[in-house]
Subunit: 193 residues, 2 copies
DNA sequence: GGGTGCATGTAATGGGTTACATGATTCT
DNA sequence: AGAATCATGTAACCCATTACATGCACCC
């Protein structure tokens, strides 16, 4: 809801563009689907927080360009002044790892490697995003804040990658132990292979 | 849903206990409210994945102790074998920071400091949790995995704290610039102290 | 001819939190 | 006296994703 106001405060655009922009700019820490964007824009318009004008296009559907109003900016400022409440994240990988003893270590290794790969990709994106902001947009005052947000993601990704390395080493030890016989407290007599 | 199975696979307990255990063990990366736990336990029981026995208590409401069944363990294993899909986190702090130019830097500083404080507290909890697992529970095979999950949180918290330091320094610069007049991108004539 | 991109929207469905209701006990 | 803890559960509500529907244009 407020993402829409925030982005429209930077420049007017259509619902479709908002979707693209969300994915490209704040996508690493905030998502909003079209099933939410369009109804919310209607609600915002009904409340007088945004206005819309229709732009006709040849051979393409009309675009509805939304602009933020003074009232909308006030609402945005009010929302920004509310201290953010800490999120309660949900990390399925960690949950599965937590129950890891129920499952062969090999598949956990796969999960962690998969995660590391994704993290490396995101890290690259964030680094590229930062460079682009610096190159093209340093004059825009918001750029400072965009960099801060991007940096957050970068540091998190690097921390995850470190963790992944450490964890993979441990998981390989566990996997080796099972394969090599001599199990924990009791015998379990390997049946693998 | 599956957290319940996972925890019941470790030991039988009541819905109430499940709530406490979730908060204490996986709470840093997974939450489940009672409004969800109780109905889900019913569903699990209806599906034959858990069984319940009632334990009467004097002067206290009855406790319904749930145990996982063989079928439940199979379901759990099946779920664990599904690769976790990367979560799309929502970070309100970052979103507000992203729109930071709309708002005096002082309040952003407050937000980041607040976050850092919470992170330090969580970090301490996680470190204590790890020590306790090592001390008391090292013989339990699940302990290895619990440590891995706790470590993840620790490394993330440390990364956040580093970021907070860096970001606070930058925010103080911005705040100083505004207070000291001379707005734009050019000279910045320190006003701090 | 079939997929992808532009561009809008609605409806079904699911997931989850919050608030409510009950009732005894123990702590402050 | 009042709050908190134990212990269960239901109902209202909110939020969000997914799937569906439309329709033209462009590319392979």
């Amino acid at each position: 809801m407020e993402v829409l106001l925030g982005l429209l405060a930077i420049e007017p655009m259509s619902g479709y563009d908002l979707g693209l922009n969300i994915r490209a700019s704040v996508g690493h820490f905030w998502n909003e689907s079209y099933g939410q964007i369009y109804p919310n824009l209607k609600r915002l318009a009904a409340g007088g927080l945004v206005t819309s004008r229709t732009e006709r296009q040849k051979h393409k559907p009309d675009r509805h360009i939304y602009s933020i109003t003074r009232k909308g900016r006030e609402r945005l400022a009010k929302w920004l002044a509310i201290p953010p409440q800490p999120e309660i994240p949900r990390n399925e990988l960690l949950l599965k790892l937590f129950f890891g003893e129920q499952v062969p270590a090999e598949i956990l290794i796969e999960y962690v490697e998969q995660m590391a790969e994704e993290n490396r990709a995101v890290l690259k994106l964030l680094e590229r995003a930062e460079r682009e902001v610096i190159d093209k947009n340093e004059r825009y005052p918001g750029a400072t804040y965009w960099r801060m947000a991007a940096h957050f993601g970068q540091m998190e990704m690097r921390a995850h990658l470190l963790w992944a390395e450490e964890t993979l080493a441990e998981l390989h030890k566990v996997a080796g132990r099972v394969r090599g016989g001599s199990t924990a407290h009791k015998e379990k007599r390997h049946a693998d292979k």
